[in-house]
């Protein structure tokens, strides 16, 4: 024997796993009688004591006026403020001489969901959405054009209000 190994003799009680296993099982069984926190997504999307925050910043939505036209006046502030440069805007003029966006596209892949576009918008046109289910079959579908932004129906974000920091 090259190395001397010291073998300790321990009492059976200390080395048995039976006790530890029973302890763990007890904890597991205890949870069966506690209130359940699991949400059965996707069948169930919110519950009485949990829902997505009103301040959630998800994929965008463009609001429209009574005639169904975009509220956007193509002022150019959102592409300017956008830190990830994901908004493409080309302004134009409609038949009544009003300024409106000819092209308005948001690349949701590039977007970092900071919410600056909603915050800067003087017309309250572009909004972050309270929405998180964004899967698509093609990558191209993630560039939301004006039509797509109009068609979104999910609620819009309230963002963070400095005068009401806790949202009460």
């Amino acid at each position: 024997m090259a190395i001397g190994v010291k073998v300790l003799k321990r009492p059976e009680r200390q080395v048995s796993y039976v006790r530890a296993t029973l302890k763990g099982m007890a904890l597991t069984f205890k949870h069966m009688f506690e209130p359940k926190v699991t949400l059965q997504y996707p069948e169930q999307k919110s519950s009485a004591d949990w829902s997505i925050s009103q301040r959630w910043r998800g994929t965008h939505r463009m609001l429209t006026d009574e005639q169904g036209r975009s509220k956007c006046v193509a002022c150019g502030l959102c592409p300017q403020i956008c830190p990830s440069n994901c908004i493409k805007l080309v302004p134009g003029e409609d038949e009544e001489g009003n300024r409106y966006p000819l092209i308005y596209e948001i690349d949701e892949f590039r977007c970092i969901f900071c919410g600056y576009c909603q915050e800067v918008c003087p017309e309250e046109a572009i909004h972050m959405g309270v929405h998180f289910e964004n899967s698509e079959y093609t990558r191209g579908r993630f560039v939301y054009d004006l039509e797509r932004l109009h068609a979104q129906t999910h609620p819009v974000s309230t963002l963070w209000d400095p005068s009401d920091p806790r949202g009460q």
Binding site: V73, A74, C75, G76, Q80, P91, E93, E123
Partner: protein, 532 residues
């Protein structure tokens, strides 16, 4: 000399200025901007806007800085409590009727009302219960819209038309809060220099239809340049957005154009955005043009020039720079050369109130420069000459169909240095893509022999290079060479050897307002760009 100077103290800085200077100009020299609307250095001061009121010690009340001359020992406070309060009051009055439509206003971002309200205006209004005045938008003329709601009645446009254009068709109609800028009955704002009222307007009341909704002021990249419209050589700023020229505005140069440019020059930018550009050098092989790289094309050009002898003709565009004209001319030094520059003619349109300022008949910005470099304006003679020449160099000239057809039958070698694809020059041995003046650095000499620089405003398409680069590479011989100029400044310095009028001058001497050339060995005028 000392008698003509007076000492004034402006916001704690004492400086000596010539007698008769207004406080606003003296403050500018002291580095203090006095907020103002009606004042403009190229227009008379009526002191109507009351924005530039400043506190002058020992004066009984606030004085308008634009109409008060400085006096010995005067102490002026621009940002004292009382002056600020006065300006806040003026701004509050202006905003009673000014709509808050900055998001859709073209002036937003370069609006003086916006700037000053942000700087020192009130945060809110005290006139909530009154509706703002409303008048519909009026169409004033060819390129000008008038939005009366936004007007702050500074009357700069009225004074421009009265005192500078000498065409008094604008006026202030009505009185009090109903006042607006009126246009004489049956009249249109179609004066060839009328576009300047758009630049003069401190707010978005007078708008250019051409620029309407095209871009926001903060999206624009502004490049100092020289107008390629005529021999006057007005200083301009080329405003681009995403590499597309969207407008041209005047750039102040008191020696040439003061603060103005004509509408012809203002709208003469569409050709800069042309899409049908040559993007690669083309050489003629087996009867058709084939795209190639620069090494091959330059070697071919050298071979062509070495192989020919006799006479050469250069047909150059009037928009070619001094550098390009000079080096292309040197390229054919071994030949008997006839060089002509194309001078399109138009109608002369003077701006009556400014001496020596007009849209000139000769619509070639570098005509004087070309003549200094040995080019003539005898285009017809040169095109006739080309029919017998051994080498014909076409430098971005806009050939008339007849000329092009004639050249296509020319027996000599035709080399085209062009920006757009030539229609009928199938027999050209070489077609080399060159940049336009918007895509390169260079200089022009205006009709008063003032040498002025322009800068690159947008990127060059494909492999296009300035013509001076092509000529410089060939002159320096085959292969990479340190002698070939790599910047326009170096190309310019090469000209001095051959044309003494440019000797000893560098780009650094020119600054951004240029300097007058004088004939003779000295080559340099003594006084440079000093304000009148």
């Amino acid at each position: 000399m000392a008698d003509d100077l007076v000492n004034v103290t402006i916001d704690g800085m004492t400086l000596a200025v010539p007698k008769g200077t207004t406080i606003i100009e003296a403050a500018k020299q002291a580095g203090v901007l006095v907020p103002h609307y009606c004042y403009h250095p190229s227009l008379p001061s009526p002191a109507v806007c009351r924005m530039c009121l400043v506190e002058v010690e020992k004066a009984p009340k606030l004085m308008p800085a634009c109409a008060t001359a400085v006096a010995e020992g005067q102490v002026v406070h621009v940002s004292s409590e009382i002056a600020k309060k006065a300006r806040e009051g003026v701004l509050e009055f202006l905003l009673i009727n000014h709509p808050l439509d900055c998001p859709i206003c073209d002036q937003s971002g370069e609006c003086e009302l916006q700037d000053y309200v942000f700087q020192e205006g009130r945060a809110g209004t005290r006139y909530k219960e009154y509706a703002k005045r409303y008048n519909p938008v009026e169409d004033f003329g060819q390129d000008i819209l008038y939005v009366p709601n936004r007007c702050i009645l500074c009357t700069r446009c009225v004074r421009f038309m009265d005192d500078v254009a000498h065409t008094p068709i604008l006026n202030v109609s009505e009185r009090g809060d109903r006042a607006y800028i009126g246009i004489s009955e049956e009249q249109r704002l179609d004066h060839p220099w009328a576009g300047n009222v758009v630049d003069l307007c401190p707010v978005g009341s007078l708008l250019s239809k051409d620029f309407l909704h095209k871009a926001r002021a903060w999206d624009l990249d502004k490049t100092p340049s020289v107008c390629p419209g005529c021999t006057q050589g007005c200083n301009i700023s080329i405003d681009t957005r995403d590499d597309v020229v969207v407008r041209i505005r005047p750039r102040p140069n008191l020696e040439v154009n003061r603060h103005f440019i004509c509408d012809y020059g203002r709208l003469n930018y569409r050709w800069m955005n042309r899409g049908d550009r040559i993007e690669a050098p083309l050489i003629r092989e087996n009867g058709r043009h084939v795209a190639t790289d620069w090494d091959t094309a330059l070697a071919r050009l050298e071979q062509v020039l070495r192989g020919a002898s006799g006479s050469a003709v250069i047909l150059a565009s009037g928009r070619a720079s001094v550098e390009s004209l000079g080096l292309v001319r040197r390229l054919v030094d071994g030949f008997t050369v006839t060089a002509a520059v194309q001078v399109p003619l138009g109608e002369e349109a003077p701006l009556a109130g400014i001496p020596n300022l007009a849209l000139r008949r000769e619509r070639a910005p570098n005509l004087a420069g070309a003549e200094l470099l040995g080019y003539t304006r005898h285009w017809e003679a040169a095109t006739r000459e080309a029919m017998a020449a051994a080498v014909v160099m076409v430098l971005d000239a806009d050939l008339a169909p007849a000329d092009a057809a004639a050249l296509a039958a020319a027996p000599g070698l035709v080399v085209v240095l062009g920006s757009v694809v030539p229609e009928s020059l199938e027999n050209a041995a070489l077609v080399l893509p060159v940049t336009t003046m918007a895509e390169e650095n260079g200089t022009y000499v205006n009709r008063d022999r003032r040498l002025q620089r322009y800068q690159q405003a947008k990127s060059q398409p494909g492999m296009a290079r300035p013509a001076w680069w092509i000529a410089g590479e060939v002159l320096a011989g085959p292969g990479p060479s340190a002698d070939a100029p790599s910047t326009a400044a170096e190309a310019f310095e090469l000209l001095g050897e051959r044309w003494p009028v440019f000797a000893g001058l560098t780009y650094a001497d020119l600054g951004f307002t240029g300097r007058a050339l004088v004939a003779g060995p000295a080559g340099v005028a003594a006084g440079e760009g000093a304000a009148r």
